[in-house]
């Protein structure tokens, strides 16, 4: 098969797919085995072919998919009656804690945020398919341990957790200044800000 014909098939299949398609599955489109390297090369070429378009081919955690470029968002929205929900800060903070501290229990999240985490927040994230239970901690009550899913990575355009935005190093911006009325040793013993 000519590369052009293979790309033609890959393009149609990926445009029609409902979810990101793993490389191995794309291989099943062809009767003869093209090999992973050849397939990957074709996909890179296809991505290049689309580089000037308003739609792009991206390689996500669970595979390849076509999606509109972010700058097209306002235009695409004009044709869509449906608008997806924006999640509240409570939901996003819970998601961030699970993403960066996973696996995490509800108790871990509550400790960190200093407030209770309602069941509906967990449900919102589970319902979206962004988190799931990966086990239970061996402590009283055996609380569920939550972790982020592949869908979470896919939906945020990430290939792996390593691509999450790096955590800000903010330890330096709050310092323990000596209290005005404090005893001399408060200044003398440097505070251990963990």
């Amino acid at each position: 098969m000519l590369p052009a014909e293979a790309k033609r098939i890959l393009e149609a299949a990926l445009l029609a797919a409902t979810e990101p398609v793993p490389l191995a599955e794309l291989g099943r489109l062809f009767d003869q085995d093209l090999g992973q390297d050849a397939l990957r090369r074709l996909l890179e070429e296809l991505r290049e072919d689309w580089s000037e378009r308003a739609v792009e081919l991206v390689n996500l955690a669970s595979g390849w998919r076509f999606q509109t470029r972010p700058e097209m968002q306002p235009l695409v929205e004009r044709l869509r009656a449906e608008r997806p929900p924006r999640y509240s800060r409570a939901v996003m903070e819970t998601l961030a804690i699970i993403a960066y501290r996973q696996p995490a229990t509800r108790g871990d999240i509550e400790n960190l945020r200093g407030v209770g985490v309602s069941a509906s927040i967990i449900q919102a994230l589970e319902g979206r398919g962004w988190i799931d239970v990966v086990g239970h901690r061996d402590t009283p009550g055996r609380p569920a341990l939550y972790a982020t899913t592949r869908t979470f990575l896919d939906d945020l355009g990430l290939h792996s957790l390593e691509e999450l935005p790096p955590l800000e190093e903010i330890a330096k911006t709050v310092t323990l200044e000596p209290a005005p009325a404090a005893e001399p040793e408060a200044a003398a013993s440097p505070p251990n800000s963990a």
């Binding site: 990926l14 445009l15 029609a16 797919a17 979810e19 998919r65 999606q67 509109t68 972010p70 097209m72 968002q73 695409v76 449906e82 608008r83 997806p84 929900p85 924006r86 999640y87 800060r89 409570a90 996003m92 903070e93 998601l95 961030a96 993403a99 960066y100 960190l112 945020r113 200093g114 407030v115 209770g116 449900q123 919102a124 589970e126 319902g127 979206r128 896919d154 939906d155 945020l156 355009g157 999450l164 935005p165 955590l167 800000e168 903010i170 330890a171 709050v174 323990l176 209290a179 005005p180 009325a181 404090a182 005893e183 040793e185 408060a186 013993s189 505070p191 251990n192 800000s193 963990a194």
Partner: protein
């Protein structure tokens, strides 16, 4: 990155610029404040970042009074939240008192009493910023749209599966779009009334006319009787059924509103 520039609370969509210097918040704004701040850590962080408070400089008396006002206002609404604020107030007072009391020289390894609070504040701030960054990533369905073209199907159609969470998700989308929060407080009780409304209508479709009592099933308990009555009243209010009685103590008949004509 300067922490002071980080987005803070928002009230009715407007960024909250500053609190009054004495920390006093009018009682009618308390609810708004509670929605703006996500708990005591968030509020403390705000105070420190925005007002340049050193934790140690906070005058404990007004802060405590403020916290207690919160608790009072919240008592009817959300006790759990109130408890969290109260715990934080107690923690602040404990820290302050420990700093003021004369102490014997500390063993080297003993921590500054403020260290644990600061550690928690920093960890929380880090996650708060991380949440903002996650929210800023292009999100499928919100900022970027996956392409999935139509395929002409010849094979037998496979039916989509729907989970309860999918319904919740769908409603969430509706809420967001239509700002319906204020208008639709549907409780479990109301939902059971709605379920019985459908049930009554379905029975009236089969039987055209039923005697009032026939619509009730005493065997299912008092709760169901009450809900059925509420359903009938609601149906009558929405003029979906006609309830008629020819004279006092005569049988009461119920029929679909359109069948009556």
């Amino acid at each position: 990155m300067s922490g002071a520039a980080a987005p803070v609370a928002r009230i009715y969509g407007e960024p909250l610029i500053e609190l009054p210097a004495d920390l006093y918040i009018p009682p009618d704004a308390l609810e708004v404040m509670l929605e703006a701040f996500h708990g005591p850590l968030d509020l403390l962080l705000y105070l420190i970042r925005r007002q340049n408070f050193n934790i140690l400089d906070i005058a404990m008396a007004p802060l405590t009074r403020q916290y207690l006002e919160y608790v009072e206002a919240m008592r009817s609404k959300n006790l759990e939240l109130a408890a969290e604020y109260l715990v934080m107030a107690a923690m602040l007072m404990e820290i302050k008192s420990r700093l003021l009391l004369p102490r014997p020289p500390l063993p080297a390894e003993e921590q500054d009493p403020r260290a644990e609070l600061v550690r928690r504040l920093l960890e929380y701030e880090q996650m708060k910023l991380a949440a903002q960054q996650l929210d800023a990533l292009p999100q499928a369905g919100r900022d970027v749209f996956p392409i999935s073209l139509f395929i002409e199907r010849t094979a037998a159609e496979r039916l989509p599966q729907v989970r309860v969470q999918d319904l919740a998700e769908a409603w969430r989308g509706l809420l967001y779009r239509a700002c319906l929060t204020a208008h639709h407080h549907i409780t479990r009780e109301e939902l059971s009334v709605r379920e019985h409304m459908s049930r009554v209508l379905r029975r009236l479709q089969e039987h055209r006319v039923l005697e009032f009592a026939e619509l009730f099933d005493p065997a299912r308990g008092v709760a169901v009787l009450v809900v059925t009555l509420l359903a009938l009243l609601e149906l009558a209010r929405e003029t979906l059924i006609d309830i008629t009685q020819s004279e006092c103590y005569a049988p009461i008949y119920v029929r679909l509103a359109h069948a009556a004509r």
